[in-house]
Every structure is written in structure tokens, then in C-alpha cells.
Amino acid sequence: MQGQVKRAIAVLLIGLAFLYGPSSTAGAAETSQIEQLQKIIDLQQQQLKAQQRQLEEQKRHLEQMQGQINSLLKTVRGSDSEVASAVGPPIPPPPVTPPAAPATPPSASAPSAGGNDDSQGSASADSGAGGDQSDDPWPAPQPQPAASDAQGSDVVAADAPLPSDLAPATSIATDATVKTTNPRIKVTLSGQINRAINVVNDGEDTDAFFVDNDVSDSRFRFVAEGKFSQKALVGSVIEVAVSPNNSEEVSQTNQDSGDFIDLRKVEVYFDHQDYGRIWLGKGSTSSDNTAEVDLSGTDVVQYSGVADIVGGILFREKSSGTLSDVAVNDAFFNFDGLSRKDRVRYDTPAFWGFQLSGSAISDGRYDGAVLWAGQVHGFNIASAFAASKPSSSETDFRLDGSASMLHTKTGLNLTLAGGMDQLDDRANSSNLYAKVGWLADTFDFGSTAFGLDFTRAENIDADGDQGHVVGGAVVQRIDPFGTELFAQVRWYTLDRGSGPAFDDIVAGTVGARVQF
């Protein structure tokens, strides 16, 4: 453009020289020359205006391209289809207006006001886009003014490749996705419905019970996380169990136990990849789940907490045939640490697969745990061990642990768990659990898991108690629907050291857990 201006000025100077130079004698020929010069100047002005409009069009086009690049970067982790929808249809290249023909009469020149209006219109649209870009945490560098591109050449072609100035913009923006220091917030809702039908024979009667499966009861949770760097985040969880007719409460005498609502988790956590995680609020203590490590795939209905699925069912006295006050969950317990409590908890980062954890809990309780997980020689292995101090005055301490290993090639798996309470005034109570399983990929839509387990419990409800449970279960995943269908059979036996003998309880279960 500057070249054009120079040429126009040169023409002007020549014209002036003709007008006022020593050779000027003010003749008719000179007048015609002046008129010709005037025409040339007018044409040059028209050309300059046309080129200015074209350059503004080019600028608008480049800014649209920049907007597209930003959209791509925002969706760069999404699927291809998401990216395509985010980008939208390609923007057609702006029409290239040829420079005004020299033959165009001055009266036909584009109105300058109209041209300015156009540029202002695009400028206002651009300013809107610019506003978006100012909010955009991945700001791309502004393209160089089109004039600099036009330097040395008359017009930049509309279909020319992007200026090289824009090339580094992509890489800079991509880096920004990794190195940004802006907090990144995500709030999610998740949960599940887990319903089951238990058919229970207590030695005398057989009844069906429609329950919420307490093994993993129906619940929903809100999780909010803010990531402040690649290594640090702050999160909070509110998790509520909404569990009508919970299987822990339903019994032969209370088949409609009503609504069970439990604030399972109300907590905040601070996590740093190098320094570990601190939890504050109500949630899992360090020892929670340490007796329940399970890789079998059947643990939606079959795990070391063998009582959960029919916890409220009462044993019937053999001699009189009357229902006792001893429920399944009185006689069987897996000593799984201190469950969920109001606490402050710290987890170390994992090192060589190990992780240490400790928590201080309300009412003078505390616990500590060691966890290890790793993949060795084709086996996935997970294990945990915990020691805890319950608040009960009769319990000195509680020990529990579990381990589970899955052979990834065959799907065969083994799970072991155990726990005990050291008691002051009576014999220690304990529980041992073992399960063998097979996790098969029979169907395309989800894995099929089979499990056989055995439990031995001692002195849990009373001194001299011996309980045994044998069970079998199958769980079919239907991944496209986020669903697990399950069925199981369990046989509970409780022998008392003293007092009345009890009938065995046999329970069959079918049900489904649906994640929404």
C-alpha cells in the first residue's frame, strides 16, 4: 500500500512540476496534461480505497480463522465428532475484489462512507469476538496487521495460506492447556440405583423381600474439583445414600423398613501429586475398605461383608420355631476398620505401589493403614492392612486386612480378607473370608464374573458363637446401559456356644445396579 501512496505522491509532484516548472507556458496542451494527471490521481485514490477494503476483509477472515483455532483447542480432547461440531462448517474465503479498473469513472467509485460502515460493522463483530478471546484462557497472539503483509505486494490473496505469524499461535495455545495457572473447575453428578429381590428361607418360612442392596446402596454424589496446576487440586464431595427398604433393616417382622437416608460423605480434600492428600469432613477413614479389597467383579453382591445383602433377617430358634433377636448382621461382620466418620485424614503419595494413610476421628478414635497395589507377572494385585481404635470401651483395638489378585489373562482371581477385635472383657471376635472367582469376557457388551466364597466368623455376637457362610454369585455387566445384573445364593449357619440353636438361613438374590 505504501508503494501505491509513493506512486501517487510522485505523480502529484510531476503534475506540480508541469504546472509551476520553468518550461510551463500555460498553453492548451498543458491544461490537457493537468486534466490527465488529475484523472490519474483520482484513479489511484479509487485503487487505494478498493485495496483498503480488501485488506480489511482479509483481516476479518484471519480473525475468524483464529476463532476456529481456539474452538479446536478447547475441544482438542474430545472425540472427532465433537471437534467437528465445535468447529462447524468451514468459513468460505472472502471474495477477492479486483482492483478498480482504471477505466472506471470517478463518479462510479465506491462510496467511502459505505466502505467505512462495512469496516466498522466487521470491527464491532470482531470486538465481540475479541471480548470472547479476552475471556479465553488460551489467548492466541493477535495476527500482524494486514498492512505489513501487504508490504511489498499489492494485495494478499484471500485463499493464500495462513501467515506464518499464526503458526506458532497453535503451539503456544497447546502449551497453555498444559501450563495454565488458571483454576479449572468441574462439577459432576453421579450415582446409582441398586435394587434386589431376596428370597429367604429361615428354616420355617420362605418369603420374598424387595430391598435396596446394602452391599452398595442407592446413592448420588456431587463432586466439585478445582485444578490449580498439573499437580494440585482442591475437591469436595457430597454423597447421599437414598435407600428405601435397605437390606440391612428389612426383616421377617419389618418387611417395609421405610426410607433410609444417610449422609455418606460431606468432605473437602486438598491434593498434591508430590505431597499427598488431606481430607477434612465426613468420609472414609483410613481404615475404611481395607477389609474389602476385591478384584473379582462380583463385589456388587458378593464380598467380605457377607451379612449386608440380608443383614436384617432374623435367625429362627430351632426348638421353638420362634424368631430370635439375632439378625444376620449381628452374627457376621468383616471388621472393616472405622467406616465413614467425621475426621481429618492424610494419604501419602504412592511410592513403589505403597501408600500410607492415617486419620484422627471424632470421639478420640484414630486409625492407620498401609495399602499396596501393583501388577506383577500378569497379575493385578491389591492389598490393604489397617489398625484402628474404635470408641467402644470394650474394644482395645481392631485389626483388619485384605488382598485380592486377578490373573489378567485368564480372569481367575482370589480374594482373602480377615479382621479381629481385641476385646477387654470377653474372647476376641474375628472373621476370615476367602473367595475364588473367574472374570470372563464371554459377551461383547460386558464382562461376566463368577465367584464362590466362604466365611468363618467367631464370637461376634456372643462368646462361643461360630458362624459359617457359603455363597455363590454371578454378575453380568451390560456396559452400554451402565448396568450390572446379579444373582447369588448364600447359606448362613450360626452355632451358639450356649443357648438355643438356630435354623440355617438360605437366601437367594437377584437384582441390578444401574449407574446413571
Binding site: K74, K186, G353
Partner: protein
């Protein structure tokens, strides 16, 4: 006896050398996998800041 302990320690170290990271999912507590309505991620996103991928790469 001391030799036995040394042998066991050597075996344990040899075993550790083969260990690869493994992060078990607590299937009963917070199951991994797709949801009926939420799809592949299993979580319905209520809010996400424009550049957020929080939780995906933990």
C-alpha cells in the same frame, strides 16, 4: 538363618523390580465405567470451566 533372610530379601527385591503401577477401582464405593444417562464417563457434568479437564488425568 541370616542367609535365609538375605535370600528372602533378595527375592522380594527381585519381585519388586517387576512391579508395574496398578490403581484398583473401588467398585462398590465409586464404580468406574459408563452410566445409563451420563454415557462413557459415568458422570453428568453440571459445570465445567471452558478449559477444564479436571479429574480426567489424575
Amino acid at each position: 538363618m541370616a542367609r535365609l533372610w538375605i535370600l528372602l530379601a533378595a527375592l522380594a527385591l527381585a519381585g519388586c523390580a517387576e512391579v508395574k503401577p496398578f490403581h484398583p477401582v473401588q467398585n462398590r464405593e465409586d464404580p468406574d465405567g459408563p452410566g445409563l444417562f451420563s454415557g462413557k464417563g459415568g458422570k453428568i457434568i453440571l459445570y465445567e470451566s471452558p478449559d477444564a479437564e479436571v479429574g480426567e488425568d489424575q
